[in-house]
Subunit: 416 residues, 2 copies
């Protein structure tokens, strides 16, 4: 591929996109990644699982851009037609790659699953193209050059696509990209809404500034993204670091991490640093808090015990919550949250224990105890503290927000 | 517009789409709505805020489709260029609509906000086109006819777009839509890969068939989607039902549900039907199984107790797993999985209990016990059975697949 300012076009393949069944989040991911390299995306096209339609759109994209990014349609079934369309566009045939076939065979053998014949299609790629290794699935990606342009095709499964983009495609494109260096930093915040945080950071988000600050919200976590552009990387890095620092000062303890860090990761790091352990006792979150904690590799160093005491009987037998307490205050109460945390800490011998009880809905709410009401308690050598929250939206949001808030309470406790 | 089978093309306008900042959920919404009318979408294009680019894509869409649905670019700022591009494509000028201007003035007056001059642009529409009232914001939509085709442009703000689509555009298209009714059914499968299932259903997925069968995979669940097209709804329904039934026969016990049902929902329904209860004892899944079970509203009717025994000490103290057993076979073993399930069933008094122990990775694997090795046990009045699995990819996949497989084992047990 020639050097110089490159433009990209993204093609997303799949009937599920045209039927509205799937929102095309893959395209947004690819576009955002290309942006970090300063490569503008000039178009995004969703195309159905039809070979001539895909071929036509590949041809159109090749007219408009230098880099073609294709996701989807590389699977083993009859509606996976991307590799045929690429071969058709390039005017070449599909050739069997023996090494890919061997890798596929090995994959199925390792798992003790029979490899059906149609899987072999994934070992074919257009003549002259090369395969991109798939470390997260069976379908290899495809890389092809033509007329000084480059085309990458990845599977549509988000985890496979992302891994291929991050580990193979972006590094290659980074080497080709010229001119302006772009450095992106992210500051992750929890505990206030987007508009509140926007207010705290003043005019940092004004358009046209460099570094540019963008703000996105996902599952309650507000991410401030700093994009610094400069003639060279060290200059861009310095600008981004300065901006990130000033944002950090502005938002104070709301900032919990950087990059793509989660609350559970940050809490885990703090626990490891201090050599402390953690146990959980959950009612309305039903194991979600424990699942978030243990999603972090190495969490067995600090997480030992978790209880999901969904029934009152379980709260009594497993966590020694007194039945009179449940009778008097109800299972969803400050007292019971505290007793759950204390029971979990005592039974596990952990340094910290979290107790959560609430009403996730959609049923079970009342005037006094509405759906979304959650009590979260944290027990430690300093005693047990409990707080009351009312979270919004649906069952999943209430559960998620409760688990995140519990992690955030522990984070704030750990940093004093 | 002429009658007959119509095709649609969707254009989404905005730099925020090309930068990856915004996922194009508008297009999916419009596509899903059109589909309910039996109008197929042949393409979705995201275009930046550039007048010539928008004009070119409108022209392209006009070649491919009879109905053009455009969202975005109708606001009052300099980067809102959709109305100019439509006028340019149609070869007409923009004309001021006095009634729109009066309505705009009134809107600002009512709110006591000064109407800045640039807002007036929203009162201009292409000559020959008509305005679509916006009941949720200031920018009117645009409806234009040309060459027997129809074009609708709506603002990109989701609430404004949806309201305009629902209250104006769909009713109009419904009146125009001819004949063809479309009925969609989904069959959800678990326990085999996409390619295996494709083989089992034979040629059902061949392109061009009616009903059409599509196949998608998300987190291990394979969804077979049946799309039946017929002159009337009852005929389409009958065709879809027949096709679904034949798929169900072909995949046998792999089919666990329909629509968007999850394994946890289906297992919950079976437990409620039979008046049975469930408890869980998790090691490597760390609460994920319990979280999936309790994500279902009303799960407190059958789920009572869950343990996350992440440490060996927890397995011993909470679930009475004998320390000698852990010493002899290791914590990740068939014996321990079984003992965990038995301990959970005994302590909870539940009818069924699941025990899971494994190596989620990325560390902790060995030659004999690789990362991904998971033992899952199910204890019931019939005794405890345990099975060995090796799941692939990363920590999250191993955990997810283990939890799903456990639910599936229980499902198979419940249906005998």
């Amino acid at each position: 591929m020639n050097r110089g300012q490159k433009k990209a076009c993204i093609l997303s393949i799949g009937n599920e996109l045209l039927s509205g069944k799937t929102v095309d989040a893959n395209a947004a991911y690819v576009a955002a990644q290309l942006r970090t390299l300063g490569i503008p995306v000039v178009g995004i096209y969703s195309v159905g699982d039809e070979e001539p339609a895909i071929r036509r759109k590949v041809a159109l994209a090749a007219q408009e851009a230098d880099i073609l990014m294709i996701t989807g349609g590389l699977g083993p079934t009859d509606d996976d037609l991307t590799r045929q369309a690429i071969a058709g566009f390039m005017g070449v045939d599909l050739v069997l790659q023996e090494d890919l076939l061997a890798a596929l065979r090995q994959f199925f053998e390792r798992r003790g699953i029979e490899m059906v014949r149609r899987n072999a299609i994934q070992a074919y790629i257009p003549r002259g193209a090369t395969a991109i290794e798939n470390q997260k699935g069976t379908a290899p990606g495809i890389r092809a050059e033509f007329d000084g342009k480059v085309l990458y095709a990845t599977p549509g499964v988000p985890s496979e696509m992302r891994h291929m983009v991050d580990t193979f495609i972006l590094p290659e494109l980074r080497a080709l990209a010229t001119g302006q260096a772009i450095v992106v930093k992210r500051l992750r915040c929890f505990g206030a809404g987007e508009s509140k945080i926007a207010e705290m950071i003043g005019d940092a988000m004004e358009r046209g500034r460099n570094p540019l600050v963008n703000c996105t919200v996902h599952e309650g976590v507000v991410t401030l993204e700093v994009v610094a552009t400069a003639p060279d990387a060290s200059q861009a890095e310095a600008m981004a670091v300065r901006q990130e620092e000033s944002l950090r000062v502005a938002v104070g303890h709301l900032a919990f991490g950087t990059g793509s860090q989660t609350l559970a990761e940050v809490v885990g790091e703090r626990l490891v640093e201090r050599g402390r352990t953690l146990a959980t006792a959950e009612s309305c979150t039903g194991g979600l808090l424990a699942a978030m904690i243990t999603d972090v590799p190495g969490s067995s160093r600090y997480f030992t015990h978790g209880w999901v005491t969904y029934s009152n009987a379980a709260k009594q037998s497993e966590l020694m919550v007194p039945p009179e307490m449940i009778d008097q205050y109800g299972a969803v109460s400050e007292h019971v949250a505290r007793a759950m945390a204390q029971g979990a800490r005592r039974c596990s011998g952990a340094d910290y224990a979290i107790g959560i009880t609430g009403i996730a809905g959609p049923d079970g709410g009342s005037e006094q105890k509405p759906v979304g009401l959650v009590y979260i308690a944290l027990d430690s050598r300093d005693g047990a503290e409990a707080s009351r929250y009312v979270f919004s939206w649906d069952r999943s949001s209430v559960r998620l927000r409760a688990a995140q808030t519990a992690l955030n309470l522990l984070r704030l406790k750990l940093i004093g």
